[in-house]
């Protein structure tokens, strides 16, 4: 009898435990997007406990799809990966823009994201931060790498690295004179373009040192000089620039590929209030600036400018004169069929000898 009482007591404790856990906020995001200082500050201000899970675009979708949009209160997919995924799997819920403090956002970014995540008359996301993919170059060893073509240039044999993902495919397509984003509506033309790009990339495969999958490992290779030209994100290059001025971000002449990472609320989020609180909290100028200083990534926060470190601002200004910014090729929402096509082409490149 005593044991049964103990058991019941334990069950009750467990229940109480979960009741308390209702005050937690589960965030599914990229590494670095929830700095510890900000998590602590948020917990202190609101009394809500924050649980952070790190992921990437593809895995975010897979995770949410497995639970049909449950398990997390807020996710941070890139804006081009929301509408097609939402149409097919319905893993997000429409954003209630009345709960967002619109004054915190840079209006053009907010409008762009609203427009690009429009599904069935409703928008599903707000912007958080943005950046570009371009080239990380060791300018001492590869002074002439200024185009996406550098990734297939025999001059850098064995010293090239890129991710086997969309960005280099599209970058090389641009350098071959294609306009991939204009072909989104024409799957056949897009397929022809991918075939041509794949041909060039397979022919240039002996030049590649490896296909990177982990950002830190790539930066290590660039730092040690094993890689002199790589496709990567701008902020990684700036981190290395601080150590070795010869390494810097180079915006390819064809244009960098611009991404915007967003906030989107999963369909079965439990703590929606906390999600909106977190969004408004992160976009506050001083908080957004803290994130920018740490990750060297600009945000969609309107007033963050004065709080950003001079060095971080200098990196940005050096790599992005106005003409370069105007030349950024922003990813439009990608149709699901094209993404499948790209997946097959990437497999083909990886399997080729």
């Amino acid at each position: 009898m005593k044991r049964i009482v103990a058991l019941v007591a334990m069950c009750l404790f467990a229940l109480v435990g979960t009741a308390q856990a209702a005050g937690t906020f589960k965030l599914l995001t990229w590494k670095g997007y929830a700095p510890k200082e900000l998590v602590d500050k948020f917990e202190k201000e609101t009394g809500i406990k924050v649980e952070v899970t790190y992921s990437n675009n593809e895995e975010m979708v897979a995770k949410l799809r497995a639970t049909r949009g449950a398990g997390f209160d807020l996710a941070q997919p890139s804006q081009d990966r929301i509408s097609s995924v939402q149409e097919e799997f319905k893993i997000y819920q429409p954003m209630d823009y009345s709960k967002i403090e619109a004054a915190l956002f840079i209006p053009s970014l907010l409008d762009a994201v609203k427009k690009n995540t429009l599904v069935g008359g409703k928008s599903y996301a707000v912007p958080f931060c943005w950046g570009t993919s371009g080239l990380v170059v060791n300018t001492e060893k590869a002074p002439d790498a200024k185009s996406w073509k550098a990734l297939i240039d025999p001059a850098y044999k064995g010293r090239i690295s890129y991710r086997l993902k969309r960005a280099p495919l599209l970058g090389i397509a641009f350098s071959m004179g294609y306009k991939p984003f204009d072909l989104y509506g024409d799957p056949k033309a897009y397929k022809d373009m991918l075939d041509k790009v794949a041909e060039a990339m397979i022919a240039a495969k002996p030049l590649v040192q490896n296909y990177w999958s982990n950002g830190d490992a790539l930066l290590e290779s660039v730092r040690s000089g094993e890689v002199v030209v790589a496709e990567a994100w701008d902020n990684g290059a700036w981190k290395l620039h601080a150590e070795n001025p010869a390494i810097d971000f180079v915006a390819p002449v064809e244009g960098c590929l611009g991404w915007i990472d967003t906030f989107a609320i999963p369909a079965k989020a439990e703590n929606v209030d906390a999600a909106y609180k977190w969004i408004n909290f992160m976009l506050k100028p001083e908080n957004a600036a803290l994130f920018t200083n740490q990750e060297k990534t600009p945000t969609a926060s309107k007033g963050a400018g004065p709080f950003v470190d001079k060095a971080v601002q200098a990196d940005f200004d050096r790599s992005f004169p106005t003409a370069t910014i105007d030349n950024i090729k922003w990813y439009p929402p990608v149709p699901a069929a094209l993404e499948e096509m790209e997946g097959k082409i990437l497999d083909k490149i990886k399997a080729a000898n």
Binding site: A62, V85, E88, Y211, S224, E340, D347, A351, A352
Partner: protein, 284 residues
Amino acid sequence: MKTSRLSLWIFLSPVLMWLVLLIVLPHLDLFIMSFRAKDEYGRMGFSLQNYVHFFEEPIYWLTFVRTAVYSVITTFFTFLLAMPVAFYIVKVVRPKYKGFLMVLLLLPFWVSELVRVYGWMILLRESGVVNFFLLKLGIVDAPLKMLYTDATMIMGLVYTSMLFMVVPVISVLESLDDSLIEAASDLGGSKISIWREIILPHCKPGITSGAIVVFMLSLGNYLTPNLMGGKNSLWFTEQIYNQFIASFNWNQGAAFGFLLLLLSSGIIWAGLKLSRVKLGEVAS
């Protein structure tokens, strides 16, 4: 009688629940999923398309063949390395050091596979430890490119699966009577013939069970080929991952998963037939 049967069920239920809830049910779900695909109008329905796809698209079955061949090679090298190690531990070294040597073998497995693979990467990379010493000693002029090749990948796989071959071989070797080996050499048998006629036949069940484990581990490995194999090493598990994660095509991924299960079982069955060992002997 009745109560004992009841208690049997009570004691069995955790295991049964574990098996059914965590292994059988998800697999059934995946199995059903693998037979569903979209038709040209985008509607889900029953279809063999996912399986047909595997045989139609050369990338897929070539990747599988590649994975299988490399796993067999890995198994073979593991066997070559494990035999002398096991023999040394059981028959040569003094019994009091035996435990110590076993611990040495186990030690690397106390850290995760990821850490071990990164360890190898630090050693082998161009600016790594091995190249540093080769350059210092003047053996090479320029750093050797050792990482990101198939040979390195196989070495990594052998390293990660060594233990699973050594342990079963040790356990069968222990039951081998030393006097058999002594008698053979008294009667003038050469070292090679002793190995061939006495030691290997005796170890056969251990070798077979070790080989099955090593083969399955290599075939199902994801980390080592991905990190050490570099740019040419598309492993079949990576294909499954790509289907699930990158292409959002769970149906195709599920079909690949079952094909992997089926084909690897087939290879093991063929291996057992060839070596004329029965599965029952292996398990004992």
